[in-house]
Amino acid sequence: MTQDEHKEGFKGMANPSRYGIERVAYWLMRLSGLGLLAYFIGHIYETSNILRGRVGWNEFLELTQTTEGHIVLAIVIAMCVFHTVNGIRVMLGHGGVGVGKPARPDYPYDPASQNYRHKIGIYSAIILAAIAMMYGLAVMFGE
């Protein structure tokens, strides 16, 4: 970005700290989306190892059986759950569902679009992601 435009840039876009839980959800949605994209590419590479035969496949699969591999998979589970649940909330919002009705605003002007339904949706996505991640960790490390 040029100084002339005075754009806040990526740093401002990615800063989740100033505008409440909705901006945190926005940031987590982007982060989990990029994470899942990276996992998807890695997953394609991983499954392509089947072309190396059973031995090659098993060798590569062992990578996911390490402590680091388990942690990565647990994070992928969390990203997947958050992206799905929050994605449903955002899709409904994009259709104008659950964003409130237009009305004359009263001071202090709490925005109707940032209502409790969406806040519950965001917190649910975070909590479900955390539960799914913990369950995944329990299964993987409990073997």
Binding site: K7, G96, Y109, P111
Partner: protein, 249 residues
């Protein structure tokens, strides 16, 4: 360039440190902050503190303002990290001994706290911010366009927009996309689409149905949180998208 000053003769009120961003694009290579110690009462606004600095310490501080009552939309700036109207923000409500004022993000800087509004007005004009129909109620023999209170309720909230630009400054898409039409213009598009007197819905939807138009909004909602008039642009944009996706008729 930092400067510390104080008003020694005013012992009755509390004081804060006001940090003002100074930058002249024609002369300076980067932004610098000047610091002033300014007295305040519980009713003192940030704009009054800036004007105090201009009156007593440095008259060259560039700031745009006019009505001082959150009606003209001139004095938008970043106050302690968030876009706010300086005339509508009391120092006492910031709950900080240091108040930092910077020019709004996502607007080119003219000098110091004053920014260019050309792009905001261009995008506002682009969505045709007027009743779009062939007939008129201005001729002497024409009838007034009647509207029920329920129909008025559909858009009156969005007619409160004062074009201060705070929503565009807070928007995460505006932070990275120079071509994005922005929450201000999109909310105004909804204002006219939802107006029962307007006949230009299809042409307006065509204007914003663009790769840098309404589809670039990701419903972060920051625009609505900073709006000083309760316009709630995020709601307007989602309702507008509801029209385009067929959720609303």
């Amino acid at each position: 360039m930092a400067q510390v000053s104080s008003i020694a003769d005013d012992q009755s009120s509390k004081s804060i440190t006001l940090r003002i961003a100074r930058y002249n694009p024609e002369k300076d290579s980067e932004r610098q902050f000047m610091e002033f110690t300014v007295p305040y009462e519980k009713w003192t606004t940030v704009l009054e503190a800036i004007l105090d600095v201009k009156k007593h310490f440095d008259h060259s501080v560039a700031v745009r303002y006019s009505c001082r009552q959150a009606t003209c939309g001139s004095c938008g700036m970043i106050i302690n990290g968030k876009p706010r109207l300086a005339c509508f923000t009391k120092i006492s409500e910031l709950d900080s001994n240091i108040v930092t004022v910077e020019p709004m993000n996502n607007f080119p800087i003219i000098r110091d706290l004053a920014v260019k509004f050309e792009r905001l007005f261009d995008t506002h004009h682009k969505i045709k911010p007027y009743l779009d129909r062939d007939d008129t109620e201005l001729e002497s023999d024409a009838k007034e366009f009647l509207q029920s209170p329920e129909e008025l309720e559909q858009y009156i909230q969005f007619a409160n927009c004062i074009k201060c630009g705070l929503c565009n400054s807070a928007c995460p898409t505006m932070a990275t996309d120079s071509s994005f039409v922005g929450p201000q213009a999109l909310a105004q598009a909804y204002r006219y689409v939802a107006d029962s007197r307007d006949k230009g819905k299809d042409s307006r939807l065509k204007i914003i149905d663009d790769s840098h138009g309404i589809w670039r909004c990701h419903f972060a909602g920051s625009c609505s949180q900073v709006c000083p008039k309760g316009v709630d642009p995020a709601m307007g944009i989602q309702l507008l998208r509801g029209y385009m996706l067929g959720f609303r008729s």
